[in-house]
Assembly symmetry: C2
Homo-oligomer: 130 residues x 2
């Protein structure tokens, strides 16, 4: 499998894992440190096997690791795939920027109607966004 295909498979798995509120809640719980399966399952109104399936999806996406400590299975967060997902999303940041720039231009016009000084001082900022 070439690296581009691998990259896309990883993104597929990450975004799929994140497309569920229970799985996102499990990841949120793991932000506070490692947790046994029973503790992760407790807040959710579902059977233990149902929770285990969610853990498996997270594990397959590389977002969760399980370690046996005596009789307890401790789960911990593995954040690297999230970093990759965020890098993908960050390519679209420019579009939020453009939306903010439109607002900024609108506000600049509103202000310049009142006082010319403001526009002059901020011309560099508003022009840069065009």
């Amino acid at each position: 499998m070439n690296s581009m295909v691998k990259y896309h498979r990883r993104l597929d798995a990450t975004f799929h894992a994140l497309a569920d509120p229970t799985r996102r809640a499990i990841l949120a719980a793991l932000r506070r440190g490692e947790r046994p399966v029973s503790v992760l399952a407790a807040p959710h109104k579902m059977s233990l096997p149902a929770v285990m399936k969610h853990l498996q999806v997270l594990e397959q996406a590389g977002l969760l690791r399980q370690k046996k400590k005596g009789r307890v299975r401790e789960c911990h967060l593995s954040a690297k795939p999230l970093r990759q997902a965020e890098a993908w999303l960050s390519r679209y940041r420019i579009f939020w920027g453009q939306q903010l720039d439109s607002l900024e231009r609108y506000l600049a016009k509103q202000r310049s109607a009142g006082t010319g000084a403001w526009t002059k001082r901020n011309r560099g900022r508003t022009q840069r966004s065009g």
Copy 2:
């Protein structure tokens, strides 16, 4: 529906929409501006109805809007849900930071074995990360 439930439904829809390479490719194409459906479909080895289904998933997630211009359906990107998804992911940024901090601590130890001065100068930085 309360706002927390709505928030999670939106995140579900966004991450689900992103969990497919064809849909991500369509979003990437829309970064360069609005495109007719036929142009978006062209690079993909699938039937037009199959592509239309992907467009529908993106539209339902609020990531794409369709506008009729004469006989042509123009699609354009709607990036707001991506911003929300990125905000969710950004809560995990601290863990990438921690991984870097571990590396920094390791490097600090390596260096202090050679020269005590470096550790002293950087003690503030390495202790803060603990």
